[in-house]
């Protein structure tokens, strides 16, 4: 989102403005960037982790307060995604944070909408939890990262039963082990297919599966001359 980047940049370059910008105050006109060319260097440095802050007083603050009370020392990193507030949690804290998220009356995130795995290649796997509260009508996305060679995370099936099948699916597709899952056996894949994870990026589609032309190529696919 280029707009918000430049806003942030304008705030940083102005110098005399406060660190804690409210979104309304941060809406400086674009031209402030043009007037101060040195800001461009600063921008390049900050580009790396330029993540827009979630709105103040929103779900991110509630979650941070509840976690700080119940679990001192647990670190959360919150930022505003395109449609949701995203909170990153350390892998080993996930079960504790989830229990707080569900049981704390201010949050009451009682509904697990979706649990997905994403293969981030050299950055390992992400496990993404889409949570929602039917009472408070708010939602939040919680993310955690697991290493490729140590792909396991605590199961949240004890918090929401809905996680049961989602976690089995994520294990099928990405090979992420969910510790203490009640029944972690293949769900969508055949029972004996426990060493092949189709949705990993190092498991590409066959050439013919990716092919989208109108006519089959003369030379065939994958070295084979047969059509």
């Amino acid at each position: 989102m280029p707009d918000e980047d430049s806003e942030k940049d304008a705030g940083a370059s102005a110098g005399d403005q406060k660190e804690e910008e409210t979104p309304a105050a941060a809406e400086q006109p674009e031209d402030s960037k043009v007037e101060q060319p040195p800001a461009a260097e600063q921008k390049a440095e900050e580009e790396e982790d330029a993540r827009p802050r979630p709105p103040a007083g929103g779900i991110a603050d509630l979650l941070a307060a509840a976690v700080a009370e119940a679990l001192p020392g647990v670190k959360l990193e919150a930022y505003q995604g395109m449609t949701d507030v995203i909170v990153e949690v350390e892998r080993d804290d996930i079960l504790k944070v989830m229990s707080v998220a569900k049981d704390d009356p201010r949050l009451a995130l009682n509904f697990l909408r979706c649990l997905s795995g994403v293969d981030q290649e050299e950055d390992g796997f992400e496990v993404i939890y889409h949570l929602m509260s039917l009472e408070k009508k708010h939602d939040v996305v919680i993310k955690t990262n697991v290493a490729r060679d140590d792909a396991h995370v605590a199961s949240v099936a004890s918090v929401w039963k809905a996680a049961n099948w989602h976690e089995r699916e994520a294990r099928d597709m990405f090979g992420i082990t969910f510790d203490d899952h009640p029944h972690l056996v293949p769900l969508l894949l055949p029972e004996d297919m426990t060493d092949h994870f189709p949705l990993r990026k190092d498991n590409p589609l066959a050439e013919i599966e990716e092919w989208q032309g109108d006519e089959l190529p003369e030379e065939g696919f994958g070295g084979s001359k047969t059509r």
Binding site: T83, L112, V118, K137, W165, L199, Q212
Partner: protein, 374 residues
């Protein structure tokens, strides 16, 4: 003197396999029941027979090409899936959908909800053990609406009619009249089904108090749609997280109180009626105008971001989680299918009931296996 333990006959639990080819499983679904006499003591559902890897295949296709997979997940409520997917791409690319397209989408989605529920009402009669009548009633009315869909999209099942930003093409000139002509028939059809089933002794005996799940359990299991509302939870994404233009219409969300099969049936019946109300209002308000945004890029390229959009499908929350790393293809596409989540609670609903009820309970979840397996 006979020893006391000899009087007790030794009983053995029997494993019974149902499916994958079995008419009552609504597709290729297999469940292994462990039964003690007539009582079910354990259920192990086996899914994945229809797993076609739509999520993986979408990663190699550009944003428009992947629409076709949405029809092939929940193939009884295709427009809702397309809507959820297109909304995700629209959020990602920050596209504004023209008014006319929004209205046409709502009309088609709500008609689609009616066809889906008609299918349920028809098939549910078969699951409960009286063949024929409900099925023919349901299909007769479904067919009329299906004809409209065919007229509009050119296809009977796999429409692929919605596009990121709007629609593939405009509806025919007589679209409004076509829909208006069908509505009275559909109303009558729903009334027929109501008269046939609601007071029916077979339905009452086979459904009341069967397969009940409490509100709290339903939420914990991630149930959504009519199943959740039958348990008395007032939750409908159209009302509670309004998307598209659903906040412009006046309609009710029917609720059950027991969460049993009878409530699930009633909720769906009423929901179909409410959908017809939305269609009528949308037809009255349908504006003229373009169907696609003016500045529509030829090639859709998303920024590096992720979005999650959800619609209230016929079976519950159909969500699309789309991760983009730039470029014209999704980096990861996850479909949160309501059938998958609803079916995961099957064991808790079924254990303790009779074998014959297991079929009815499965029917009441109204699964679509294409949606479960994706």
């Amino acid at each position: 003197m006979v020893q006391e333990h000899e009087l007790e006959p030794e009983t053995v639990d029997i494993g019974v396999n149902m499916g994958p080819q079995h008419p009552s499983t609504h597709g290729v679904f297999r469940m292994v029941l462990t039964i003690d006499g007539e009582r079910v003591v354990d259920v192990e559902p086996h899914i994945g027979y229809m797993h076609r890897g739509a999520e993986k295949l979408s990663e190699s296709m550009d944003y428009r090409a992947a629409i076709g997979f949405q029809d092939r997940t929940d193939y009884l409520a295709q427009f809702m899936n397309e809507q959820a997917y297109c909304m995700a791409v629209e959020e990602l690319l920050e596209l504004e959908v023209p008014e006319r397209s929004e209205y046409i989408r709502v009309i088609l989605c709500e008609l689609n909800r009616v066809t889906s529920h008609l299918m349920f009402l028809g098939a549910f009669g078969i699951d409960l053990g009286y063949f024929g009548t409900s099925f023919t009633y349901g299909f007769r009315e479904r067919e009329r609406i299906q004809d409209i869909f065919e007229e509009v999209t050119g296809d009977r099942l796999m429409y692929a009619y919605f596009r990121p930003g709007g629609l593939a093409w405009d509806v025919p000139d007589n679209f409004v009249q076509m829909v208006r002509d069908v509505l009275p028939h559909t109303r009558q059809g729903l009334k027929d089904l109501d008269l046939l089933m609601t007071q029916n002794e077979i339905v009452a005996v086979r459904t009341k108090g069967i397969g009940a799940m409490s509100a709290e359990e339903s939420i914990n299991w991630g149930l959504s749609g009519p199943l959740l509302r039958a348990a008395g939870v007032d939750w409908d994404l159209r009302k509670d997280k309004p998307y598209s233009i659903y906040d412009r219409f006046d309609y009710d969300i029917p609720l059950g109180s027991h969460g049993d099969l009878f409530d699930r049936f009633l909720v769906r019946l009423e929901e179909a009626r409410q959908s017809l109300c939305i269609v009528e209002q949308a037809l009255d308000q349908l504006p003229d105008g373009p169907i696609m945004p003016e500045k529509m890029p030829r090639r859709l390229r998303g920024p590096e971001a992720e979005v999650y959009t959800a619609v209230e499908g016929a079976r519950g929350e159909y969500g699309v989680y789309l991760v983009s790393k730039g470029g014209d293809k999704p980096y990861r596409l996850k479909m949160r299918s309501p059938s998958f989540c609803n079916l995961s609670a099957l064991r808790d609903m079924t254990v303790g009931s009779y074998v014959a009820d297991a079929v009815a309970i499965l029917g009441s979840i109204d699964i679509v296996l294409g949606c479960v397996d994706r």
